[in-house]
Symmetry: C2
Subunit: 247 residues, 2 copies
């Protein structure tokens, strides 16, 4: 099974780093607030962060009272930044792919993952591992690209009018799941497209109960500052889910 480590590519790493430093990037505006809104009270909780990247969230969880955070990432370069910029005695950073979760011999109250799971081919195996890593009553909160996004691979994403205004999203192959190659700073970034129904069924069949789903959209207030974000009403960029292990 492929374990993609695109973040250790030099070109990708620098491009990604600059994107995240932009003041109004989509993560800051939509994905991060939605992700944190789904988290339970973290006081005295043990947290596992899958694809923790630069470790900002790990640090954030400690600030919200977590007693222990384990952050894993496949990219050593990302973890170097995490250790330099977001270290804490309560945080452990582990360099490992998400596919190797069964090697972790601890239980957590919260498993969280920010925009990493659409890179994982075996979602069923991942959910099984997450279930096993959660304490009863534990919560899984994650974000991924919206399925209306992940289905896209080649060709133009939008149909525009004569003035260049976006009219439609060019949606195709939504029902054909699996690998998509896309260009994001470098060629051949591999993502895995899954339909809404497959995502829901995989989580439910893995023993977790779906509690909430968010497809973030801009508020009126945000649109005044960032009018381009109205395009999200055609197609939300993200999908976030909270699910729990009942017993």
């Amino acid at each position: 099974m492929a374990k993609q480590n695109i973040y250790d590519n030099e070109v990708f790493f620098e491009g990604y780093r600059k994107l995240r430093e932009k003041e109004s990037n989509a993560n800051d505006l939509f994905e991060i607030p939605a992700l944190f809104s789904l988290l339970p009270d973290l006081k005295d909780k043990a947290i596992l962060d899958l694809g923790c990247g630069f470790g900002e969230h790990c640090k954030g969880f400690i600030e919200k009272g977590a007693s222990k955070v384990v952050g894993i990432d496949i990219s050593e370069k990302m973890l170097e930044v995490a250790k330099a910029e977001n270290s804490d005695p309560k945080i452990t950073y582990l360099n490992m792919p998400m596919e190797d979760l069964e090697t972790i011999d601890e239980k957590f109250d919260v498993v969280v993952s920010s925009l990493a799971i659409h890179y994982v081919e075996d979602f069923t195996g991942l959910i099984k591992n997450i279930y096993n890593l959660l304490n009863p009553g534990g919560v899984f909160v994650y974000s991924q690209e919206n399925p209306i996004n992940t289905t896209h691979s080649t060709g133009e994403r939008w149909t525009r009018d004569e003035n260049g205004e976006k009219l439609y999203v060019n949606l195709s192959n939504y029902g054909i799941e699996g690998e998509r190659e896309s260009v994001w700073f470098v060629d051949n970034v591999k993502k895995y497209h899954r339909m809404f129904s497959t995502i829901v069924n995989t989580i439910v069949d893995g023993g977790l109960t779906i509690e909430k789903m968010i497809e973030p959209l801009p508020t009126e207030e945000l649109l005044e500052k960032y009018p381009d974000q109205r395009d999200l009403f055609h197609k939300p960029d993200f999908l976030l889910i909270r699910a729990s292990r009942k017993v």
Copy 2:
């Protein structure tokens, strides 16, 4: 709150009747098999069918062992056909809109609805009523148009190449929920678009647990007989959900 009774319109009624009589209509090929696949064992169960139309499903539930079926529909014309063609001592047909469910003073083991709920404006109120009508352990199974479908209102649904082959679904306004007017035999058939996340959250917030979701796609075998159905891989027509009342 609008209670739309388009099925009592003469033109609509005849058009719809002819569509359902076609041998390879989308309901027979995809929606009905998926709906029945989600049903529990109906032996000795009490069933409520919301928007029962011609009553074929009500009759089918009796054939599968149900002890009692109540079918409701807003259209008197539809129920006249139901009573003539699909009557049974164990079936009661009631002429009422789905919005008036709180007037029913019984409990059911299964509440089912086939392609009717996208006509209902108040989904939250509907789910509340369904929860109250279900026995603990009871199951709600329903089908609706897929949200990728319901978002469409005016304009061309597809972008085609120079040979007329379908390239893309023209997706727009997915994030703008609410009324859509469409032409289906007659003008101004009103449907209500809701995002996947809103559908899931409304069901969960109403106290039901999501158990399974289906977006039906054609099998290889079916494609050999009906090659045009490959378009469904761009955009499934239907969404089906099974949810249960645990306590």
